[in-house]
Amino acid sequence: MWLLRFVPKKTKIDFVRVRWIGFIFTAVTILATIGSLAVQGLNLGIDFTGGVLVEVRKEEGSVDIAQMRETVGSLGFGEVAIQSYAGGELCAATADSCVLIRVMPEGGIAGKEQETVTKIREALGAGYAFDRVEAVGPKVSDELFNDGVIATILAVLMIAVYVAFRFEWQFGIAAVVATGHDVFVTLGLFTLLQMDFNLTSVAALLTLAGYSINDTVVVFDRIRENRRKYKKMPLSEVINLSTNETLSRTIMTSLTTAIAIIPIVFLGGPALFGFSVAILFGIVIGTYSSIYVAAAILLYLPPISGMTPDEDAAARAAARP
C-alpha cells in the first residue's frame, strides 16, 4: 500500500549548526512583539476593559451606519465604536445588515452598563434583532484581567515544573522558555494584527501552552533516550540526532491538530475566529520552538548529569559576540 510521507525516512539536518538562523528569527519576532505591545498595545475586548458590546441585526434591509452613528452618538456615551461585520449565516442574507456597537467605559458609563444597554435599545427602536448583548462592569473586568494574567503565568510555570520533575531541571528551564516564547509570540499576533483580545483569547493561549509543550516533550524524551544509548556522544550531536529522529512525528502531530482546527477558522463564525487563528498560529510556532528554542537552550545550560558536556559548542557560543 502506498502511504503518504511528509518527511523523508532519514533526515540529517544539522539543526544545531544552523541554530543562529533560528536565533535571529526568534529575536525578530520577540522584538516585534515587544515593540507592538509598547506602541499599540493589545486590542482589549470588553471582558477586560468593561463597557458595553451589542451586536444588532436589521431584520430587513441593510443598516445606514452613518445614521446609526448619529443616533447612538446623540445618547452622549462619549467613545462609541460602530462597525458592520460579517457574521455567520444570519448576517449573510443581506449585506451590511449586522452591526457591532461598542461603548467604552471612558464615556462615563462605568458602573452604568445596564442602563446604557437599555438606552441603546430604546434609541434604535423596532426592526432590530439583538443577537448579542454584553455589559461588563469595572469590577468584573479588572478581576477577569488579573485572573487571566495569573492563569497564563501559572500554566507556563506548572508545565515547566512538571517537565523538570519528569526530566531534569535543565529541561524544565528549556520548557518554560519555549512555552513562554510560544505564548508571547502568539500575543504578538494579537497586538500586531490588533485582533480582539478577550477571555476566549486567554483560553487559546492556555491551550497553546499545554499543547505546544507536546512536541518539546517528544524531542526531550528522545534526547533522554539517546543520551543513555550513546554515552560518549557530545550534547550537540545528541540534540541533532534526536531532533532528526523525531522530526516526522513532530510534524505529523502538529499537522493533525492544525488540520482539525483549520475548518473552525473558516466555518466557526466570528466568535471562534480569533481563538482558532491563535491556536493554529501557536501550533506552528510551537513546532518551531521545540526545535529552535527548547533544544537549543539545553546547549547553553549547565551540563545534564551523566552526559558528556559539549565544551566545543559552549566555547563557540562564548566566542560569538
Binding site: Y162, L206, S248, M252, P263
Partner: protein, 522 residues
C-alpha cells in the same frame, strides 16, 4: 471491558442524535437526556449579581442601636453621642456611677450566653466611652445570610416571570450567578432584579412645609424624600415623611395588578393579620392625615386617609402603566431584598444567533473530523483506519460522558471537541512513527508493535498531562463558554488516552493474531 465502556457510552450518547419524536419513543430503561446546551448555543441571558452585603451589616447595626437606646432608657441609664461606624456602635455614659448597670444591661442585650457566640464585643473605658464592635464571625454570618436570602428572593422574582429552568447559584462570597435560557430580552428581568423593593407605609410630616424643611433641615424623626412624579421644573416633587414605619412590605400576603375606580392601573394588596391590625389602628387614629407609600426611598403616592381602613387590603395608585403595576406586584409578592443588588455583568445571546452557532460549530467539527480521518488514512493506511475507529469511539464517549454528567456544551466547547480530535490521533502518530522506526531498524513485526506502544507511552502521557494541567487552570479561570471549552477538552484528552492507546492496540493485536503478517503495512 473495552467493549462494555463503548456500549454504555453509546447508550448515553444516543439520544443526542435522535429527533425528539424518536427520543420520546425510547424504552424507559434508556437514559433520555441530551447534552445541556450553553447559553451561547441555546440563546439566553447570563447575569452576575453582587449583593451589597455591607448594607445588610449597616442595617443590623442600626437596629442594634435602636434596641440599645430603648434598653438604656428603660434602665434609666444616661448616655450621649451615639454613633454608628462601619462595624461599631459607640456612645458615652453620662454618669460613671452607672458603669456596672450599663455593662449588665448591654451584656444581656448582646447575649452570648448558653454557648452561643455573642454578635458584639463590648468595651467600656473608665472614662465612660463605650464601644460595641461587631465580631468578624457575626459580620460574615450577616453577609452570608443576606446573600442566601437574596438568592431566594431572586429565584421568586424570576419564577414570577415564567421563564423556563433558570439556574441561580451562589458565586464567591457575595455574588449570585443567574442563567436564564431562552430569555433574549433581559431588560425587564434586569429591571426587576435591580430593585430592592422595600415597601413602607409612613405618615407625612405635616408640621412643617417641605420647602422650609429643605432650607432649615427636617425636624428630628422625619426626612425629605423625592416623589416618583416629576414636577413642572423636571425635578421630582419632594415630601417630608416621618421616619417611623407604620407597616412594611414584609406584612403583605398578596399583591396583584388591577385597576382603580377610575380605571387606571393599580396594585391591589392585602396585609396579614398583624399588618392589618396595625394599619387599621393607625388609620383609625389618623383620619384626614396624609400618609405616604414609599418604595426604595421614593414616594410612590401620598393619599389622604378618608376613613379607617380595617379590611387589611388596599390599593396603590400612582403613575403606573399596566406593565409597571404588574412588575411592582411581582416585586411585592416576591419580597424585599435584604440588601441592594447591583448587576456587575450581563451577557445575552439571541436564540437565532445560538442556532446559527450550532450550525457553524457542527459544520466546522464535521470538516475537521473528515480532514483528520483522511490524513490518517493516507499516512498510515490500515493502522490509520484503526486510529480512525478509535477516534469515532472517542467522540461517542465524550458525548456520552457529557450527557451522563449533564455538563454544558458551549460554542468554544465544540472547538474543544474539534481540538481533541486533532490531539487524540497524536498518540497514534507517536505510536505508529515509533513502529516505523523500529521496523526500519530491522525488528520483527511483533516486537516493533510492542516497542511502538511501550516506548511511545511516556511521551504520550507527558504530552497529555501537560495539556490537562493547562485545561485545569482554564476550568478554574473561566465561566460559561470558556469553562465549557475546558470541560470538553479535558474529557476528550482523558478519553483519548483510553481510545488511542487501548482500543487501537486491541485492533492491532487481533490483526496480528488473525493475519500473522510478515511485514507492517506502515
Amino acid at each position: 471491558m473495552i467493549a462494555l465502556i463503548c456500549i454504555v457510552a453509546t447508550i448515553f450518547a444516543l439520544p443526542n442524535f435522535l429527533p425528539q419524536s424518536a427520543r420520546d419513543a425510547l424504552a424507559d430503561f434508556l437514559p433520555p437526556n441530551t447534552m445541556n446546551l450553553g447559553l451561547d448555543l441555546s440563546g439566553g441571558s447570563y447575569l452576575l449579581l453582587e449583593v451589597e452585603t455591607e448594607v445588610a451589616v449597616k442595617d443590623r447595626l442600626e437596629s442594634m442601636r435602636g434596641d440599645l437606646r430603648k434598653r438604656m432608657r428603660e434602665e434609666g441609664i444616661g448616655f450621649s453621642s451615639f454613633q454608628v461606624g462601619t462595624d461599631t456602635i459607640s456612645f458615652r455614659l453620662i454618669d460613671l456611677a452607672q458603669l456596672d448597670a450599663a455593662r449588665t444591661a448591654i451584656g444581656d442585650l448582646i447575649g452570648g450566653n448558653f454557648g452561643s457566640a455573642a454578635e458584639f464585643t463590648l468595651q467600656i473605658s473608665d472614662s465612660g466611652d463605650a464601644v460595641l464592635t461587631l465580631t468578624e464571625a457575626a459580620r460574615a454570618a450577616i453577609a452570608s445570610g443576606a446573600v442566601d436570602q437574596s438568592i431566594e428572593i431572586v429565584r421568586r422574582r424570576i419564577d414570577e416571570l415564567g421563564t423556563r429552568e433558570p439556574t441561580i447559584q451562589r458565586q464567591g462570597a457575595n455574588r449570585i450567578l443567574v442563567q436564564v435560557p431562552g430569555l433574549s430580552d433581559p431588560e425587564r428581568l434586569k429591571a426587576l432584579l435591580g430593585k430592592t423593593a422595600k415597601l413602607e407605609f409612613r405618615f407625612i410630616d405635616e408640621s412643617m412645609d417641605v420647602t422650609a424643611a429643605l432650607q432649615l433641615g427636617p425636624p428630628p424623626g422625619s426626612e425629605v424624600l423625592p416623589s416618583e412624579e416629576m414636577g413642572p421644573d423636571g425635578q421630582p416633587f419632594q415630601f417630608l415623611v416621618q421616619k417611623e414605619v407604620i407597616v412594611a412590605g414584609d406584612r403583605l400576603t398578596g399583591a396583584q395588578q388591577g385597576f382603580d375606580e377610575r380605571n387606571r392601573p393599580a396594585v391591589l394588596f392585602s396585609f396579614d393579620t398583624v399588618g392589618a391590625r396595625r394599619f387599621g389602628d393607625a388609620t383609625r387614629e389618623n383620619v384626614n392625615r396624609l400618609f405616604a407609600i414609599v418604595l426604595d426611598g421614593v414616594v410612590i403616592t401620598a393619599p389622604r386617609i378618608n376613613e379607617p381602613i380595617l379590611t387589611g387590603s388596599g390599593q396603590i395608585t400612582g403613575s403606573f402603566t399596566v406593565e409597571s403595576a404588574n412588575d411592582l406586584a411581582i416585586l411585592l409578592r416576591a419580597g424585599a431584598l435584604p440588601a441592594p443588588i447591583t448587576i456587575e455583568e450581563s451577557r445575552t445571546v439571541g436564540a437565532e444567533l445560538g442556532a446559527d452557532s450550532i450550525v457553524a460549530g457542527t459544520n466546522a467539527a464535521i470538516a475537521g473530523f473528515a480532514l483528520v480521518v483522511v490524513l490518517m488514512l493516507l499516512v498510515y493506511g490500515l493502522f490509520g483506519i484503526f486510529a480512525n475507529i478509535a477516534l469515532i469511539l472517542n467522540l461517542i464517549i465524550i458525548v456520552g460522558i457529557m450527557t451522563a454528567l449533564q455538563s454544558t456544551l458551549t460554542l468554544p466547547g465544540i472547538a474543544g471537541i474539534v481540538l481533541t480530535m486533532g490531539m487524540a490521533v497524536d498518540a497514534n502518530v507517536l505510536i505508529f512513527e515509533r513502529m516505523r522506526e523500529e521496523v526500519a531498524q530491522g525488528r520483527s513485526v511483533i516486537s516493533a508493535v510492542d516497542a511502538g506502544y511501550n516506548r511511545a507511552m511516556s511521551a504520550i502521557i507527558d504530552a497529555n498531562l501537560t495539556t490537562l494541567l493547562a485545561v485545569l487552570i482554564l476550568f478554574q479561570l473561566g465561566s460559561g463558554p470558556v469553562r465549557g471549552f475546558a470541560v470538553t477538552l479535558g474529557i476528550g484528552i482523558t478519553v483519548s488516552m483510553f481510545t488511542a492507546i487501548m482500543v487501537t492496540r486491541l485492533f492491532v493485536i487481533y490483526w496480528l493474531w488473525g493475519r500473522k503478517p510478515k511485514a507492517l503495512p506502515i
